[in-house]
């Protein structure tokens, strides 16, 4: 499954109101693990459980929430090798090939980004994970095969340390921020 997001969609910001922000604040580190999580959140925020659920659904429909999920800690699970594979793909075929790379089962993220010549020539980014370096290299080779003649080169940038990882955090003021 792949999703395609156009820049115009990406910039249609501020689709969340103050109550949505309160909900994001209350759930960004997880849903209550109780039989009726919406009731517990509602009690916390002074809303009915139905209202909480309806807002969750609306944020999902609008793409503010990508998914509600049991999010694995891949690093803890043994996926110690995180390779950001980057490729220089012909502009005329990148949309089609990007979608195909995004559908590979082992690719967790796949994006087109701008080149900055002469410093940076790679315009397709696909994240792959492995329990060994060889596993990441095998997966990168599969991507290379798929890209074929439209690819002028690529490389793998292995992560050597996670220096900060916090996910989206909203402060009380309601602005997105790190920390």
């Amino acid at each position: 499954m792949s999703t395609s997001t156009s820049p115009s969609e990406r910039f249609s910001n501020q689709q969340v109101d103050a109550v949505d922000r309160e909900l994001i604040l209350a759930t960004q580190s997880g849903l209550p693990l109780v039989s009726d999580p919406w009731k517990q959140l509602g009690d916390q925020l002074g809303l009915s459980p139905d209202k909480v659920l309806a807002r969750f659904r609306r944020m999902s429909e609008r793409g503010v929430i990508r998914r509600v999920a049991a999010v694995p800690d891949h690093y803890r699970l043994g996926y110690r090798f995180n390779g950001m594979t980057v490729w220089d793909v012909a502009d005329q075929s990148i949309s089609e090939l990007g979608a195909q790379v995004g559908e590979l089962p082992f690719v967790s993220h796949c994006y087109r980004r701008p080149r900055h010549l002469p410093y940076w020539s790679f315009n397709l980014f696909a994240m792959v994970h492995g329990t060994t370096r060889e596993e990441v290299e095998d997966k990168a080779a599969k991507i290379r095969d798929l890209l074929g003649a439209d690819c002028r080169g690529g490389t793998i940038l292995y992560s050597s340390a996670i220096l900060k990882k916090t996910g989206l955090r909203l402060r009380r003021s309601g602005t997105a921020s790190g920390g």
């Binding site: 043994g78 940076w120 292995y158």
Partner: protein, 154 residues
């Protein structure tokens, strides 16, 4: 902690999304063939043991503001100092060291595009290093996780 087969199925089935319905854990229990209490206690234990980082919403940064992948090529002897400066900058929420000339890769976020640009300009000024700015032009597959090879990890 090595999850048992039911917990593995639970992760496999719900890492890409769980039901957003009135009783999500009850619905999951029906799909897994177990009880709601069992699902809740498994999720608690998986979370306590950090097999899963959380059970909850994954928010789209760009819908709650602006964000951008950025990279700098820090001289090796300054990498710790440069990384610390990046981590302290407002809006930075990921920072990875990577094996490349561009050796620090981070995500900068802000409430809007103008603030994002200002934060990057300010950080560039502090670092005295050019920042490679790599906004998403098109997304083909965004953060839906990937299939876990349980044989390989256990």
């Amino acid at each position: 902690m090595i999850p048992d087969s039911t917990s593995r199925r639970l992760i496999d089935m719900y890492q890409r999304g769980l039901p957003v319905c009135e009783r999500p854990y009850e619905q999951m229990a029906r799909e897994l063939g177990t009880s709601e209490d069992d699902v809740i206690s498994r999720l608690q234990s998986l979370q306590e043991n950090q097999v899963i980082s959380r059970v909850g919403p994954v928010f789209e940064h760009s819908r709650a503001g602006a964000s951008l992948l950025a990279a700098v090529a820090a001289p090796d002897e300054q990498i710790d100092l440069v990384a610390a400066t990046i981590n302290r900058a407002p809006g930075v929420n990921h920072n990875y060291a990577r094996e490349h000339t561009y050796n620090l890769w981070f995500v900068m976020t802000a409430p809007d595009e103008d603030t994002l640009e200002n934060r990057l300009d300010e950080l560039e000024h502090q670092l005295q290093l050019p920042i490679l700015r790599l906004p998403m032009v098109e997304g083909y597959h965004i953060d839906l996780g990937f299939a876990i090879d349980w044989e390989a990890v256990t």
